[in-house]
């Protein structure tokens, strides 16, 4: 049987498929439909210190092979989460990672400190695609120094796996990957959504109330693969690949370019059983090809090194 597990610090994931933040709620909503214990792990919706209402209606819009969202990080807040959601999560036999969002570095620290004491929380993923109120709302995630600072501040507060989730909306994602690796992150996950928009030409209004939002789904898979590849070329810490994954084949593409694991996002809406099928499909593909450990795929891309991103004339 193919070995599918991997480790981050002391935490063992039974396979390399996780469900992505914001696409699986707090874990209890889909319990009738998906056996999350068949997955490597689940990542919660982003949690902030206080509950957040989120953005006005006009939060999603479908596009070719993808969707735009502008949820505004609507969430129940960390206290409500600890009280009402953690008890269920404790009963799970899979890794539970809490994703944290905040509008100041202090808020990130407060949320993480509070959760670090909870045994049911196995690790953290940090959503840096959040507006930094001190900097007039500019996203932390496009500011390399701010991203590194968040990482090092949080690193001091926890011994649990600390994953920094990178945004693709930067020129060189490798700089961000290097900065957070230096600052002590255990892993990076990418990509968060790609900035996009859509317009209703009849009303002349943007389809999203916030004008622009985040693009996800199969349409962005090629972009995500290129970003993961770029990150993998630049750091040694594990990478978790995200973006448009809909099949075991897609997931294996991410492993080949350098991801140690993957997250399934938008496809959870389309087919709640997608992540379990993907986990099974990866193991089956490996078995069919006599690969004893999925780790053998990680970074195993057979690429001609003569050519590279930089030298190719698009």
């Amino acid at each position: 049987m193919t070995k599918t597990s991997f480790k981050l610090r002391d935490v063992e994931f039974k396979n390399r498929v996780l469900v992505a933040s914001g696409t699986f709620g707090y874990g209890d909503e889909l319990k009738d439909l998906v056996d999350v214990n068949m997955l490597g792990g689940m990542i919660t919706k982003s949690l902030s210190w206080k509950p957040r209402d989120g953005n006005p209606p006009g939060r999603i819009a479908e596009t070719t092979g993808g969707m735009l969202n502008s949820i505004g990080l609507a969430n129940i807040g960390v206290h409500h989460f600890v009280k009402d959601k953690l008890p269920y999560l404790k009963t799970l036999n899979t890794v539970v990672i809490v994703n944290i969002a905040a509008s100041s570095i202090d808020e990130y620290c407060d949320v993480l400190s509070l959760l670090d004491q909870e045994a049911a929380v196995d690790g953290f993923e940090i959503n840096v695609s959040c507006p930094n109120v001190k900097e007039g709302g500019l996203s932390f995630g496009t500011d390399c120094d701010a991203t590194a600072e968040i990482t090092s501040r949080l690193r001091r507060l926890t011994e649990k796996p600390l994953i920094i989730k990178l945004t693709p909306n930067v020129t060189h994602v490798s700089e961000f990957a290097k900065a957070v690796a230096r600052a002590g992150a255990d892993a990076v996950s990418l990509i968060n959504t790609v900035i996009g928009m859509a317009v209703d030409i009849k009303t002349r209004k943007p389809r999203l109330s916030t004008v622009t939002g985040g693009l996800s789904g199969p349409a962005i898979k090629p972009i995500a693969l290129a970003k993961v590849y770029e990150a993998a070329q630049s750091v040694d810490i594990p990478i978790i690949g995200i973006g448009g994954i809909a099949s075991a084949e897609d997931a294996l593409e991410f492993l080949l370019v350098g991801a140690s694991a993957v997250q399934i996002g938008t496809m959870n809406y389309v087919d709640p059983s997608a992540s379990v099928k993907i986990a099974q499909g990866m193991a089956e593909f490996a078995a069919r090809n006599n690969v004893g450990d999925l780790a053998e795929f990680v970074g195993a891309l057979d690429a001609n090194v003569e050519f590279s991103v930089l030298q190719s004339w698009l």
């Binding site: 919706k45 953005n55 209606p57 819009a61 092979g65 969202n69 949820i71 199969p218 938008t266 809406y269």
Partner: protein
């Protein structure tokens, strides 16, 4: 709530451009309540990517029906499903209409495809209320579908069938000239109609449940993509997919 690969067992064009698709699912058929919906994946590909929500229109034994018109790619593909083909259905979803004890007259008001939830509501409420009055509006007579309903009052914009004008205007006339005992209104249709209906309900002080539409990504309360503003309360928004699609008209702010 189940996810099922269901077999299509029937497809009919029941009015001009309006299709009823029947599929077999014991669970969905036997557990769906009026106002709930199913979320359908019309194909295995990515165009369209997301599921499409449809009210459960009618149930019979182990089969359920949806009714829809063609507005885009998803409904076009669905309208071409032949009996024997499979569709991926998830449901039942959402909060059903509230038809508590004490309602004697159920007034159902449908604009266009808003008629969808009312056959099932009629089916379930029939033995519980004393009287059902159903107002169904459409652009034109050819697009009117009024099967499986009781005491139907039809209205068309062009007057080709029934009352000439909106269903809400027709309902207002009805209420002026008829006494109704312990009534409750159930409304479903375009937002503009729901506005008018909600106003009318307030004017006549009749309880009113509205079934809302809106873009949805998941239909299961996961994505937070379907907010509707609340009139007041502890939280600013409710979710159309789980808190709704049916709401007491006094509790929500309809979009412009």
């Amino acid at each position: 709530m189940v996810q099922e690969i269901a077999t299509v067992t029937g497809r009919n064009e029941v009015a001009d451009g309006i299709y009823v698709v029947k599929f077999s699912s014991a669970h969905i058929s036997r557990t769906s309540l009026p106002g709930q919906f199913v979320n359908v994946r019309v194909g295995n590909g990515f165009l369209p990517l997301l599921r499409r929500p449809f009210s459960v229109c009618r149930t019979q034994d182990d089969e359920a029906e949806i009714v829809f018109n063609i507005v885009g790619e998803g409904t076009r593909i669905l309208s071409e499903k032949e009996p024997g083909e499979k569709i991926d259905v998830l449901g039942p979803l959402g909060t059903p209409f509230g038809y508590q004890k004490g309602v004697d007259t159920a007034i159902m008001v449908a604009g266009g495809l808003g008629v969808a939830p009312f056959p099932l509501l009629t089916q379930k409420i029939r033995n519980q209320v004393k009287r059902i009055e159903t107002f169904v509006g459409a652009a034109t007579g050819r697009k009117l579908w009024t099967e499986h309903l009781e005491n139907v009052h039809a209205a068309t914009d062009d007057g080709t069938k029934g009352f000439r004008g909106t269903v809400v205007a027709q309902l207002a006339e009805f209420l002026e000239s008829n006494k109704v005992l312990h009534p409750k209104i159930f409304g479903c249709g375009p937002t503009r109609m729901l506005h008018a209906l909600s106003d009318l309900a307030k004017r006549y002080e009749i309880a009113c449940d509205l079934s809302l539409e809106g873009d949805m990504a998941c239909g299961m309360g996961i994505c937070q993509g379907c907010p509707v503003e609340r009139v007041n309360g502890t939280k600013k928004y409710s979710l159309v997919c789980t808190d709704g699609p049916t709401f007491d008209s006094r509790e929500i702010v309809l979009q412009a």
